[in-house]
């Protein structure tokens, strides 16, 4: 299955178009690979929100969530392509998921005025996190 998704055009921050192939997005949103170290820092930053719900192999981080699967071994369970789509729009796999769609700005209700029209993460941030998660192997 191949489908083409365009994020709806918005005022300031237009989203990069991406190609979904199977259950993933094979190509980098930025055209280049992300930075693993930056990705790790983003996963652990509370404002990025990953660590609020997920736990993982992060011994220095005291408060990790337990609402969502442990990220340990995420790089074994998913390919880079699968990780990318799961970050971009997890609701595609399960409409009931509590995992936000991190690269989407349409179909949302009452978004706060500081966040309206913007995705939660930028394309570059998605790529950094994908690159880091891919290194999490058991």
């Amino acid at each position: 299955m191949v489908s083409l998704a365009f994020a709806s055009p918005t005022k300031a921050d237009e989203l990069v178009a991406y190609n979904i192939v199977g259950d993933g997005i094979p190509q980098s949103l930025t055209g280049s690979p992300g930075d693993v170290a930056r990705g790790r820092a983003l996963v652990l930053a509370r404002t990025t929100t990953c660590i609020l719900c997920h736990s993982g192999p992060f011994p220095e981080t005291r408060f990790q969530g337990d609402l969502a699967p442990d990220l340990t071994g995420a790089g074994n369970r998913w390919t880079t392509s699968q990780l990318r789509l799961r970050l971009v729009d997890a609701s595609r796999f399960n409409a009931q998921t509590i995992m936000p769609s991190y690269y989407r700005s349409d179909g949302l209700v009452r978004v706060g005025r500081n966040f309206a029209g913007k995705p939660i993460l930028s394309a570059a941030e998605i790529e950094d996190i994908v690159a880091f998660l891919a290194t999490l192997r058991d």
Partner: protein, 259 residues
């Protein structure tokens, strides 16, 4: 599936036709008190160390003080609050015939000021309004919540439930996603509660002051990066009403202490 959801599903199947899927059955409802650590519980339990009691004391003063051009105090109409206000807050928000919709306790106080005291409304979250509502609600401490029982408010309870179930904000989360489906789990280090509004207005350590349920709801909305509803808006009143009806049977704790 959590144990609570299993219980909820079982209860739904067995007895409770009014309960919607995912809702917490009456015997599994728990106050936020049960999610707190021992130090915070101790702070709430002892009236001489509960900082919320400072506001209750202020409210008691205001209750007996004349206000507005009618030169009347609350006590001039309502007498001793210990008798007249007992159980009242457990029924709020309650239907008001004149305005044709439910009003919160804060709004009732301001309606009283406008209609009977000829006094200007007290601003939302002002010390005086919080003190008066804390004093009134304190008279219901230990009383079981019955808000939402009045048939006239049914459509507003339903509206509140719809808002509770509706995903909002950049994070696209509904209240129910955390407070029905994931209580007892941990968001970062902090336990997720059921969101039962048993002790409002309450003293939140994070705020370092007393605050209303509306303030709490607005900060939840900020948390999911949604545009918060205005204080006193029909949406917040409906949400407050639904939450109180969802807490039916739990005892009032005002002034509660929460982290």
């Amino acid at each position: 599936m959590t144990i609570w959801r299993a219980i909820a599903a079982a209860a739904l199947f067995a007895t409770a036709p009014a309960l919607l899927a995912g809702e917490i059955p009456p015997d599994a409802r728990r106050s936020g008190y049960s999610f707190m650590g021992p130090e915070t519980r101790t702070m709430q339990d002892d009236d001489t160390s509960n900082p919320g009691m400072l506001f209750v004391l202020d409210g008691e003063q205001l209750w007996g003080k004349q206000s507005g051009s009618a030169e009347k105090a609350c006590a001039d109409c309502h007498g001793d609050a210990r008798n007249s206000m007992k159980g009242v807050a457990a029924r709020y928000p309650a239907f008001d015939k004149a305005v044709g919709r439910p009003v919160t306790l804060d709004q009732r106080i301001n309606l009283c000021r406008a209609n009977h005291q000829q006094a200007a409304p007290l601003p939302y979250e002002s010390r005086d309004l919080l003190a008066l509502s804390a004093f009134v609600a304190h008279q219901s401490r230990g009383v079981a919540i019955t808000a939402g029982d009045d048939p006239q408010v049914k459509s507003f309870v339903d509206q509140g439930r719809d808002l509770f179930m509706q995903r909002k904000g950049q994070l696209n989360l509904a209240c129910t996603n955390c407070h029905d489906d994931n209580f007892d789990r941990r968001l970062a280090g902090a336990p997720i509660t059921q969101g039962q509004p048993t002790g409002y207005p309450l003293y939140r350590l994070e705020w370092q002051t007393l605050g209303s349920l509306e303030r709490r709801l607005r900060s939840c909305m900020s948390g999911v990066r949604a545009q918060a509803y205005d204080y006193g808006s029909p949406e917040l009143v409906a949400l407050e009403l639904y939450l109180m009806s969802r807490a039916r049977g739990l005892a009032m704790e005002t002034p509660a202490v929460r982290p």
